[in-house]
Symmetry: C2
Subunit: 203 residues, 2 copies
């Protein structure tokens, strides 16, 4: 997009098009929508971003985003603090929280070990996990990481590090999705779900 | 998306998800990207929006967005001020400018006449067009409006209004797109492009 009639407009479009997945055309559509709003609403939009950046914390226990020093999950006495689910990022926390069934806490690594990308254990939020495990009685660590090489490497590394220090280490189940057609399931998933089959319970 | 770990975060996500075509999940992805940036970059983003809203003008001649009172097209002595291309909105101006071939000026209506939606001529930027035509010698009006009922109604209305006051009124050509397969062209376009066929010139 070469021609944009105004510097102010093209500056705002540039800002938007730096966001992930937003191209120049979409950015222009968003900015033209913003121009149509009243000044107050634009102020609110802008200040919601600067306030967010200035005041958001990472929970000092699990690394989750939080308004306070400790997030609403770590600070909730009804959550089992002795069960820790290890996830890669905050989107994973949100996905699991959506299910409404998990009652433990989380630990957010902020990435996965990936030698190819030069990401080692020291780049992840692992020291904090270590002190968390050393200072508290941890009953169970649950790995909820991606089912790829980086995820597997990270699981392996963490299990070597903590297997003697926690009661139990588990991993979320992999297999054919509920409602999923066998026909359309990829071979690896299908093969693995055959291997890791569970006892059928008719009750 | 029910669970979002922080008020600040959910506020920013709400703001983004009010933009057209941005759902909650996309909004979250964008906001998490913004959190990762440094404070300066977020300030720049926010101020690009507030500055835009505060300082942008509509060109007093054609209605285009502009940093000044008169836009870069109306203020350009190399553009033919006596040829006016009528478009619905600024995105259309950008699309035509991209072609790099048009040397006249524009007039932005800001919409199309649509009785169903309660949009009449008085809701559009037509008074300004009228005084533009009365105060200047206009050689040609070019209609570049959408090929639908609203576009046709608007063309009809404007041509009745101005046919005696301008040298010539034209409309951009409709037909099969360049590189377009006949097979995949819709019936209406194909039928109309047969009706409005032009003399073939082998040179």
């Amino acid at each position: 997009m070469d021609y944009i009639p105004s510097k102010l407009l093209s500056n705002a479009v540039d800002q938007f098009s730096r966001l992930p997945g937003i191209g120049k055309k979409t950015a222009l559509r968003l900015v033209l929508d913003i121009i149509k709003r009243d000044e107050n609403s634009v102020e609110n939009f802008a200040s919601s971003l600067t306030n967010l950046k200035k005041n958001i914390h990472n929970c000092k226990i699990c690394g989750n985003l939080s308004d306070e020093e400790v997030c609403t999950i770590c600070g909730n006495p009804q959550r089992k603090q002795s069960i820790i689910c290890i996830v890669e990022n905050i989107r994973d926390v949100i996905a699991i929280e959506q299910t409404g069934t998990y009652k433990g806490t989380y630990h957010i690594l902020g990435g996965l070990i990936s030698p190819v990308d030069g990401i080692g254990p020291s780049d992840l939020n692992i020291e904090e996990l270590k002190s968390r495990i050393e200072e508290n009685e941890v009953e169970e660590l649950i790995f909820a990481l991606s089912a790829n090489m980086e995820g597997d490497t990270t699981c392996f590394y963490l299990s070597r590090l903590f297997s003697k220090k926690v009661g139990k280490i588990s991993q979320i189940a992999r297999g054919v999705a509920f409602g999923g057609d066998l026909e359309y399931t990829d071979e690896v998933t299908l093969a693995r779900s055959l291997e890791t089959r569970t006892t059928y319970n008719a009750e």
